[in-house]
Symmetry: C2
């Protein structure tokens, strides 16, 4: 859907809360009312943008990573896909900004986001499990901890990359990832 695509891009720049019906209508060359008819509230629009983002995310980040063989190749592919995903969105990963925005804003949007983030962390955990099964990680490696560590790394990269202009950020990320993987081998 073209509206959601524009909405996603706008949300990545201004945050989900910054997407207004009027500005999104202008961006899609539609009338405010015509666009509004598609959703029935702003909350619905926000949720549909989030779910659209999750579909794009799964398609571009998760699925192609699973094509790689379990262990380090799959992990590195996932990280690179994630970085590619954040660099395509003008203002960065929508889930990162939304997580900050909705940390204390109850409602259906937050619940949706929470579900998605739990799914994502589950995904990271399963990737660690597949690494164990493939013999790339220690048998007793803590998969939940791995998910925490890896997500933290991605968040750190995101902040460095989007806010600061540190030209060495990519190197920092690679070094951290190598160390992280080593800690679990």
């Amino acid at each position: 859907m073209a509206i959601l695509e524009a909405g996603l891009d706008m949300a990545s720049q201004l945050g989900l809360e910054g997407v207004s019906i009027g500005s999104l209508a202008k961006a899609t060359s539609m009338s405010k009312s015509g666009l509004f008819a598609h959703f029935q509230s702003k909350e619905n629009l926000q949720i549909e943008i989030l779910e659209y983002a999750a579909r794009v995310f799964a398609e571009n980040v998760i699925v192609p990573a699973l094509d790689n063989k379990p262990g380090v190749p799959r992990i590195k592919a996932l990280v690179n896909n994630w970085i590619e995903w954040t660099s395509q969105l003008t203002g960065g990963c929508i889930f990162v900004s939304a997580s900050a925005d909705y940390s204390d804003r109850p409602g259906r949007v937050r619940e949706c986001l929470l579900r998605q983030q739990n799914d994502w962390i589950d995904c990271l955990r399963r990737i660690a499990q597949s690494a164990i099964k493939a013999g790339a990680f220690r048998k007793d490696a803590d998969c939940e901890q791995f998910a925490f560590d890896l997500y933290s790394l991605l968040l750190g990269f995101h902040l460095y990359d989007k806010l600061l202009d540190d030209s060495e950020t990519k190197k920092r990320q690679e070094q951290a990832l190598n160390q992280l993987v080593a800690n679990y081998q």
Copy 2:
């Protein structure tokens, strides 16, 4: 300043962009115009909130951490102070949410935030250097990398703690910190 204190709390919940003159006036039992006269624009208000936050942050997080002796004690104190800081603010660390908000929103607010974040990362780097000098870290430890790793860890903790309801988040953070420190010893 009482206005800035209320503004900081509001900004931690709704983001810096979510602080409106009207709502802040209501929260401080002032008139919109009376409050507005203190700042001369919303942008000024946002910047003053950020700078107030930086003062509180330095006073409650950085300064008391420096009372501990260099090395692991100082690092753990800093981390614990940071966590305490984020838990006091209703909606979490204002710098984290602002970093997400202003990753693609040029202007004076972003410039101010960028300066502050560079200062913070410098602070982390210096703490690693003091750990080296005290013999707690390897002589060739990469202090810049340490700053990246530690800040990433804090960001991961922040997301887990504020968004998800993972009761094991504190344990995850401690384990990650122990591993992180070990990597540099």
